[in-house]
């Protein structure tokens, strides 16, 4: 019997449908085998990659060859390393050439100390790339005003940060995320700063459409097991959001069991 609530729970970004609400980054992994194992365990359908100049003598393993063999994975090149909109636009075009994917994670952080996204350059790059037909997913400060402006220029999603990239400080932007979620008409994905699956679950519970994690998996004790744990947490958070959390008690307790005095004699 088909149970109620078993309808497909998909989300759409830039006209593309996805069922997994966990996006994975591919940086910081020890080796390609672990990275591919983690991507598979995560169930991710959107996977970020970066663009680098080819060294004179190729030293690194081919991390992405095995990934590109996997079916059902959309590669999303990022523009990491760009400090200005013009550099991000160039990186996006090169990334598209290499990946064959219209998806781009616009990522412009000029300060290596905190890696906070530059809102002005990010907006400018997103505006131009969206007009060029890219599926633009901007990594951005958790700012509801900027979110609306990015939506207005044709971004496919919003990717506000939970906390600084790679910090593992968790969801420190909850209040701003709520304001973004309230008005967004495109998917909202928490990108950066998460450390534990419970934080991913919390993001989905509050109504975020997805989360993107990398360090939380790659720098964990067992990346493949952690990827699976994140997948479960994202599923639980999403299911909880769809089910609807109970109202808050407003500071008062409400008993779940009858409070009739069971030691007293039942009524006549």
């Amino acid at each position: 019997m088909e149970r109620k609530g078993k309808v497909k729970d998909e989300w759409i970004v830039g006209g593309h449908r996805f069922s997994s609400r966990l996006l994975m980054g591919t940086g910081k992994f020890e080796d390609a085998e672990t990275m591919v194992g983690a991507v598979l365990a995560s169930g991710a359908q959107i996977v970020t990659v970066a663009l680098r100049r080819v060294g004179r003598i190729p030293q690194e393993d081919d991390m992405l060859g095995p990934l590109q063999q996997l079916k059902g994975i959309t590669l999303m090149p990022n523009t990491s390393g760009a400090r200005k909109a013009s550099e991000a636009i160039r990186a996006a075009r090169l990334g598209r050439e290499l990946s064959g994917s219209p998806f781009v994670k616009v990522e412009i952080h000029p300060n290596p100390h905190h890696l906070m996204p530059d809102p002005i350059e990010t907006f400018e790059a997103a505006r131009i790339l969206a007009a060029e037909g890219f599926v633009v997913m901007p990594y951005m400060p958790a700012d509801p005003v900027l979110a609306k402006r990015l939506e207005d220029v044709g971004c496919a999603s919003l990717m506000p940060l939970g906390s600084a990239i790679g910090s593992g400080n968790g969801l420190t932007t909850v209040e701003m995320l709520r304001l973004i979620l309230r008005d967004a008409r495109i998917p909202v994905i928490v990108d950066a700063g998460l450390r534990s699956p419970s934080e991913a679950a919390a993001a989905l519970e509050m109504g975020c459409d997805a989360v993107l994690v990398n360090s939380a998996v790659a720098a964990s004790g067992d990346p493949i097991a952690m990827a699976a744990a994140f997948a479960q947490a994202v599923g639980a958070g999403r299911n909880a959001y769809r089910a609807g959390l109970m109202p808050r008690g407003g500071g008062t307790a409400l008993a779940t069991s009858p409070l009739t005095a069971f030691l007293s004699v039942e009524g006549p």
Partner: protein
């Protein structure tokens, strides 16, 4: 032939085309994007795309990233 490859001076021995340069550099089989004097060279044109003294070549590939 003197080229600039990824910002460094490079003396190409017999690289008359982009494809020949990639093979000489040992990256013929890799998925790279080639930018010649600020212009992206599509993979399909590499074989017929010649190189000239002083050309500036940039090569990029995808790596792991978040």
């Amino acid at each position: 032939m003197k080229l600039t490859v990824n910002g460094e001076a490079y003396e190409a021995k017999q690289a008359e085309s982009v494809t020949a340069l990639l093979e000489e550099m040992g990256i013929g089989g890799r998925a790279v994007v080639v930018v010649l004097n600020d212009e992206v060279i599509p993979a399909s044109s590499r074989r017929i795309c010649g190189l000239r003294e002083g050309d500036c070549v940039e090569l990029f590939r995808l790596v792991g990233g978040g």
